[in-house]
Structure formats: C-alpha cells, structure tokens
Amino acid sequence: MNEDEFRRLCDFIYRRTGMVFTEARRYYVERRVTERRSATNTASFAAYFARLRRDLDGEVEQFINAFTVNETYFFREEHQLRCLSGDLLARRIEARPAGRPLRIWSVPCSTGEEPYSIAIWLLENWPMVDAFEIEIVGSDIDTRVIEAARAGHFGRRALMRLSEPLIAKYFEPEGPESWRIIAELRNSIDFTTVNLVDAAGMRAHGVFDVIFCRNVLIYFDDASRRIAAENLYDNLMPGGFLCLGHSESMSRISPLFDVCRYADAIVYQRPREPRHG
C-alpha cells in the first residue's frame, strides 16, 4: 500500500467510522487490509477499496472487526481498569452524599467479560472497595449474549489474562476447559438489554458515575453516533466519566464532553457546569 492508497483509505475510514490512523500505524493498517483482501479473494488494493466503499457483503463491518479483534476476554484493555481504580473513582467519591452507591455501566457488555472484569478488578485493586456500595450494570442490544452473561460460563481463552489465584478465587471449574463465574458475582451484577440510540430505554437505566462504551460507536452511522452520544451524556452524572475503545475518540463525534488525560488513559467527562461557546 503506497502513501496515496493509505491516505485515501484513511479518509474513508475516518468518515465512515471515526477511527483515525496516523502514518505511524500504516503497517498495522496494511496488515489488516492484507487479511481482508485474502479473506475476500481480492486481487489489488484498488479492487478491495472499491469493495469497501460499496460495502459489498457488509465489508465495512468486517473491516472494523479486523481492527477491534472482535473477541472479549477478562481484563482486556487493563490500562482503563487501572485508570478506573487509580483516578476516576477517587474523583467520583469526592464530596459524595452518604449512602449513594457508585454506579458503573458496561454497555455493550457482550457475554459479560467486561462487567465481571470491573467487579474483580475493583475487589482486588481498589483500596476503598469496602467503604462504598458499588452497582455494576451490564447491557447489550443482543438478548442472547445477555443470557450468556447471566449464565457466566467461560472457556480458557476468556481467562487467558487472569492469574491462577484469581481464577481459583472467582471461578468454579466445570470441566477441563470450562469455568463458571461464582454465584456471588453473578448475583451482584444486573444484566439488561438496551439500544444505545433509544432515549427512553437508556434513560430507564438511570445515571452512572462511569460508563464503559467500547468499540461500538465505530459501527454506527453519523446520525446514530450523535444520538448515542446525547444519550450517554444523559446517563452520566455531572462530572461522570465515559471510557471508549482504544481507536475511538469522542472528539470526532460530539462536543458534549470534556477530554481528560490521566496516567493510564484518556477519558471523557460530563462537565459539572454548562459550557459556553
């Protein structure tokens, strides 16, 4: 892929998904294009680009999948979990009314790895964990994955980033390559279905201190992304935080949030005060 091909592809991907790739990531992009060309049996870059532009056989979604590695596992993007326990929750418990629980939302949560990871991470790594009540909600548009999340059965791949002591502590072995997350955790997380662009359904979930919304807005069209951003804003308390996936940025979607840089992650914050233009 030469410079001009790379630029043209990047322009298209930016408009369609909001993902940005700099020159430094050209090799990474090239690898994904090669994968997709081989999967679609496409002879040249130009022929593949034509296929992508026309979204033949859902190629845009396939292409995005190649970038997001469409599988979930425990402690994926651990730096955001470190940011949660290291910085975000400390901000959220400042001047907090007594008795109000901390609320964390994983949306979309797929088969539950992310909300269960948040629970395990906080129990293991947040020193204040016993001082607060914490509510964790996992939601997804797909009822089947929500059923799987509630059931809590996981294979070896999902657990690959967890140490043996953590597996022993939070999972029950069910077979040689199968574990079930312990009942205490299963019963402490609420799983619901929700559509990010449905204002009423979103509002019914109440407001949160922190929302994890990773690798989903890139699949949306422009109008849906804007509506999802408005809904997520309404689902955050003033001063609450939004965490996106690593190739995503709210700066390409909406000016509703302030960007914040912490040691382990860049996150977006609902401002405490209104902002003038």
């Binding site: 940025s249 700066s251 979607i253 000016p255 960007v259 860049i266 233009g277």
Partner: protein, 133 residues
Amino acid sequence: MAEAEPIRSGRRVLVIDDASLVRLYYRQLLEDDGFVVEEALNGLEALEALLVGPFDLLIVDVNMPRMDGLTFLRTLRRLTSAAAAIPALVTSTEAAAQDREAARAAGANFYLVKPLEPEVLTLHARLMCGVPA
C-alpha cells in the same frame, strides 16, 4: 555529496484544519523548514492533542466540524494550563474585516487569508515561534 540540511528549529506546530490537503500542504512546507508538525481535524481533537504534547504554535482554520476554530480558541484561552498561552495563527478563507475582528476577539494572534503562498506560511510560522526568518 549530501545537500546542506536546513537548520532544524524543532519547534512544534499543531495544524488544525479539516481539509486533508491543507494539512498536508502545511505539513510539507513546515517540515521542510525545520518544524515538527502534528495534525488535528477539528477543535476538539486539538484540545485532545494539547493534553499530550507541548506546542510552540497553533495554525487554526475557522470552519471545522464538531468544534470550529473560534470556539476552539475561546476554549483554549480559558484553560488553566500552559497551553492557554500558545500563539495561534488563524488561516481562513474569509477576508472581511469582521471575520478578522471575530478571530482576534476569540484569541487569535495573527490572521491570514487562504490560499497561502508557501513563503508567507513559513515566514509567519518562524516569526510567531521566534525563529530567525
């Protein structure tokens, strides 16, 4: 025999413009003149870039999606970080006196009307960064 390298000031410029060919044009001219260039496609991306890297100069377009250049400058000048004091050169297609005045009121230090001739861009970048012209 190698050609003489330009003296590299290493001054860091953030080019904020939604037109990809404008960004590329500025980048090539400024890099050839010894600057280090980064790019942002709108005002919000620029605010995000300013959290990560220090810059000596901002080159700011006016009409941009998500956050326009003047809203960006007003937001920038209200920041409490050192970024609030970075000089800003606005390059705009709008030539009327009221457009210049609006940019100055928003926090622009200098205003140039597009399209820019190469030497006009590099001369102003040097002057605004304190590099001998």
